[in-house]
């Protein structure tokens, strides 16, 4: 007999939003009637700067307010945190002098700002929480599920850190989508039906190149490449260095170590960089401590300065073409993503390399978020004719004898992908086996990225080589590694400990979630109560005003009593914290004023008709 499953608990499917968690700016978008739309924040700006400021008092500031606070509280403001996701302190040493905040830590980076110590996923979670709140305010419903985009070239630790950030912010991350792939979705390039597309994505902190084949709504990634530490920030740092050297010689006193001055100067060079995308010459203007610095910056000087940065994007592009097995001539379309692709030199370099004029119709700052919203629609079932088939950007391997890497899953393999490997013990009585998992293309472990160490433990003591443990490595559709192991003789699941090299363990994430979820729920509840009260205020004011109207006094005593009962009941629950109750009482009061409203309407109509010739 056939059975039907009916789910009473959740009749209306939850909405899934799409989030671009960027180095410089973050955005949230949703699918509105089949079309992706970005959601503006309370200030009307859809771009939420990825800045978090911990002021001396009160809640952390996020977005535009935090960015404005940077020169005021340079030691309390965190920006470009995406560059630290899934990294260790050793990875970022070179740029530390230019960052106003201090970082420490042996595994996960700890950021010290404004007397607070937070990990990168926690800072990112504050940004995500702001986007969640913006979406909730605009859509007037709770938002708990999201698609978040990541650079295609993000490794496992960086992806996991992003997913952790979502969880800490109270978001169920249903899918991590690669930014270039999302951009391709946003352009709806499937209208071509068939074709090969290159997506060149140069953002604030990361560079990605992806080559896709389109096939009747399937977006099949052929190859991807990039550099997770290359972007507009590097250009800013170059300009900053030049300006700082200038200032040191002009003023006979440098501003090194003065974070307030450095951050003001950073803002000045960024303004000059932006201007040069539209005018051939501009000026860097900076004032500090009563002294002025001004320097003319023509575009050709700027171009010479940044050529090394632009050139660093070209080698990954050529490698990606080779990996995809296509020639530049076979590329039908090129899509530009990321604010740094506004730079004319970048556009020229891309056009030369791919021999195609790049697409720029969509705002490069918004295109990724728009694509994330389309992907959210794919997951919710709203979009049925499109599907992403993505790849893993880096090879996955394990350490073998002599510090060599044995590759299990090669880069550019379509995901989900898996590999199994059998392990045994090497000495008599051995009860655990250690597996070191790495990501990277090089032959030696020390040249690759350590992901995690898995300790297969509790193996029954037996002669060497007796145990047969099958370990399955599976990269899921988010590009994140899942490892499981079983003892082949018994068929039992093999227990293991996981020690991520640069990530948070589950316990750490859990406690961060507990801290912030309580807050997030409080926030949401509080806002709903506030909104209900505003509605109640409007209602009560209208009733009060109606008492001046003749119609009120024409009502039956019973109707009038009903209205004052409704007003009193609403006032009773008004200061409570249950917005459902307030809404219910507003509804009841509304019901009891029906007759009043009707007679007021009639009076108004007949008044209006008086003196009108019919």
């Amino acid at each position: 007999m056939q059975t039907f499953q009916i789910d009473f608990s959740d009749s209306k499917p939850k909405r899934i939003v799409g989030i671009d968690l960027g180095t410089t700016n973050s955005l949230v978008a949703y699918l509105s009637g089949g079309k992706p739309e970005v959601i503006p924040g309370p200030d009307g700006d859809p771009l939420v700067p990825s800045f978090v400021c911990f002021p001396p008092e009160g809640e952390p500031l996020v977005g535009n307010t935090a960015r404005r606070a940077l020169p005021l509280h340079p030691l309390a403001t965190v920006f470009s945190v995406k560059r630290l996701m899934g990294k260790g302190v050793g990875d970022i040493e070179a740029e530390l002098p230019l960052l106003p905040y201090r970082v420490t830590g042996t595994g996960v980076v700890q950021i010290h700002a404004g007397g607070q110590v937070r990990t990168p996923p926690e800072i990112s979670a504050l940004i995500l929480r702001q986007l969640k709140m913006n979406a909730e305010a605009a859509l007037n419903e709770e938002v708990t599920q999201a698609v978040i985009t990541v650079p295609a070239y993000f490794n496992d630790a960086q992806r996991q850190a992003t997913k952790d950030a979502g969880r800490i912010a109270g978001l169920e991350v249903l899918r991590l989508v690669n930014e270039p792939t999302a951009a391709a979705l946003a352009y709806g390039l499937d209208k071509r039906k068939q074709g090969v597309v290159a997506v060149y994505d140069l953002g604030g902190g990361t560079f990605d190149i992806s080559i896709l084949r389109l096939h009747d709504g399937l977006f099949e990634v052929l190859a991807t490449g990039g550099d997770t530490h290359l972007g507009g920030d590097d250009i800013d740092n170059l300009l900053l260095k030049v300006a700082m050297e200038d200032i040191a010689s002009e003023w006979r006193a440098g501003i090194e170590g003065n974070q307030e001055a450095i951050q003001l100067l950073r803002r000045a060079v960024i303004e000059a960089k932006h201007a040069l995308s539209f005018v051939p010459v501009t000026h860097i203007r900076f004032e500090y401590g009563g002294r002025r610095y001004e320097r003319e910056l023509p575009r050709d000087v700027f171009n010479r300065l940044i050529t090394p940065v632009v050139d660093r994007t070209l080698q990954p592009c050529r490698q990606c073409l080779a990996d995809a097995g296509v020639t530049p001539e076979q590329i039908d379309e090129v899509v530009l993503v990321g604010g740094s692709t506004r730079i004319p030199l970048v556009r020229d370099a891309v056009a030369r390399l791919f021999r195609a004029r790049p697409h720029t119709e969509l705002d490069p700052d918004q295109v990724v978020a728009l694509g994330a919203a389309v992907q959210a629609g794919v997951l919710s079932g709203e979009v049925e004719d499109q599907l992403l088939l993505d790849v893993t950007p880096l090879s996955l391997g394990i350490e073998t004898m002599g510090g060599l890497v044995s590759k299990l899953i090669h880069r550019n393999s379509a995901i989900p992908a898996s590999a199994t490997e059998n392990f045994t013990t090497g000495v008599d009585g051995q009860t655990n086996v250690l597996i070191h998992v790495i990501q990277g293309e090089r032959e030696l472990v020390r040249d690759c990225r350590s992901l995690a160490r898995f300790d297969l433990k509790g193996i029954d003591p037996a002669p060497a080589g007796f145990a047969r443990i099958e370990v399955k490595f599976l990269i899921d559709a988010n590009g994140i590694l899942n490892v499981s192991a079983k003892e082949l003789r018994t068929g039992k699941e093999q227990s293991m400990d996981v020690k991520p090299s640069y990530g948070l363990n589950d316990g750490q994430v859990e406690s961060m979630i507990l801290e912030s979820i309580e807050k997030a729920e409080e926030d949401f509840q509080e806002r709903q109560v506030r909104e209900a009260r505003v509605e109640a205020d409007t209602m009560l004011a209208a009733v009060e005003k109606a008492k001046n109207n003749d119609a009120y006094w024409d009502l039956s005593d019973e109707d009038r009593a009903g209205i004052s009962r409704g007003v009193n009941e609403l006032l009773l629950v008004y200061h409570g914290s249950d917005h459902h109750l307030i809404q219910a009482k507003i509804g009841e009061l509304n019901q009891s004023t029906m007759a009043l409203a009707e007679s007021m309407m009639n009076a108004a109509v007949s008044n209006a008709l008086k003196g009108t010739k019919i």
């Binding site: 056939q2 059975t3 499917p13 899934i16 249903l174 899918r175 096939h215 399937l218 992907q375 794919v378 997951l379 919710s380 079932g381 599907l387 992403l388 088939l389 044995s406 590759k407 393999s413 379509a414 995901i415 989900p416 992908a417 898996s418 590999a419 599976l474 899921d476 559709a477």
Partner: protein
């Protein structure tokens, strides 16, 4: 087999009754619905890959039960792993050989096929000269590279012939021959890689 969800008999990827995804077959040929042959219609393979991707990708299962999501993840990984193995003649042959109980050498095979002993000895001398900075070995290495490249091409056409013979007869002796060619091929591939590195 019966459906894990509704109990009806289920012999396809999806239950005919409740449409639930079923535990997928783990063998690549069975999964793709191809006979266990070494020759394969690659256009048809690609067509089935696209069609199955549309049905099995985890994105299609976001609103389904945890059990079905896990099955979709498993099925999609077999789909992708299977395409990688089946579309490449060498990987496909190694997959069949392993399933038939033949041991395959690892990634860094050091066993020199006997017929190549002499050539490899001379090549190694030239490689050492080159690496120690003696550029006079370059022409010898370039000659060796094109020689080994043509040996690779020869191995590929030899494989195609052996594939057809095994598909016809199912004789294990053919598989043993295939393994011999695969070992030689892998060894030569590594040599070509070493020569390319030295010449760079």
């Amino acid at each position: 087999m019966t459906c894990w969800q509704c109990g009806l008999p289920a012999d396809a990827l999806f239950c005919g009754g409740c449409k639930a995804l079923q535990p997928p077959p783990s063998g690549y040929f069975e999964f793709y619905g191809f006979p266990r042959k070494l020759a394969i219609d690659s256009a048809e393979l690609q067509r089935r890959y696209y069609a199955l991707s549309r049905q099995l990708h985890p994105d299609r299962f976001t609103r389904r039960s945890a059990r079905e999501q896990a099955l979709a993840l498993e099925a999609s990984s077999i789909l992708n792993d299977g395409l990688r193995v089946l579309r490449d003649p060498v990987e496909r042959a190694e997959y069949v050989l392993t399933a038939e109980g033949f041991a395959m050498p690892g990634q860094r095979t050091k066993d020199v096929p006997p017929e190549l002993l002499e050539e490899v000895f001379e090549l190694n001398l030239a490689l050492e000269e080159m690496r120690s900075g003696d550029a006079s070995a370059r022409p010898a290495l370039e000659t060796a590279r094109s020689h080994f490249q043509s040996m690779l091409n020869g191995a590929d056409s030899e494989l195609a012939g052996l594939f057809a013979r095994w598909d016809e007869s199912g004789d294990r002796a053919e598989l043993a021959r295939i393994r011999g060619v695969l070992n030689r091929r892998k060894y030569i591939t590594n040599l070509v890689r070493d020569v390319n590195q030295a010449l760079q």
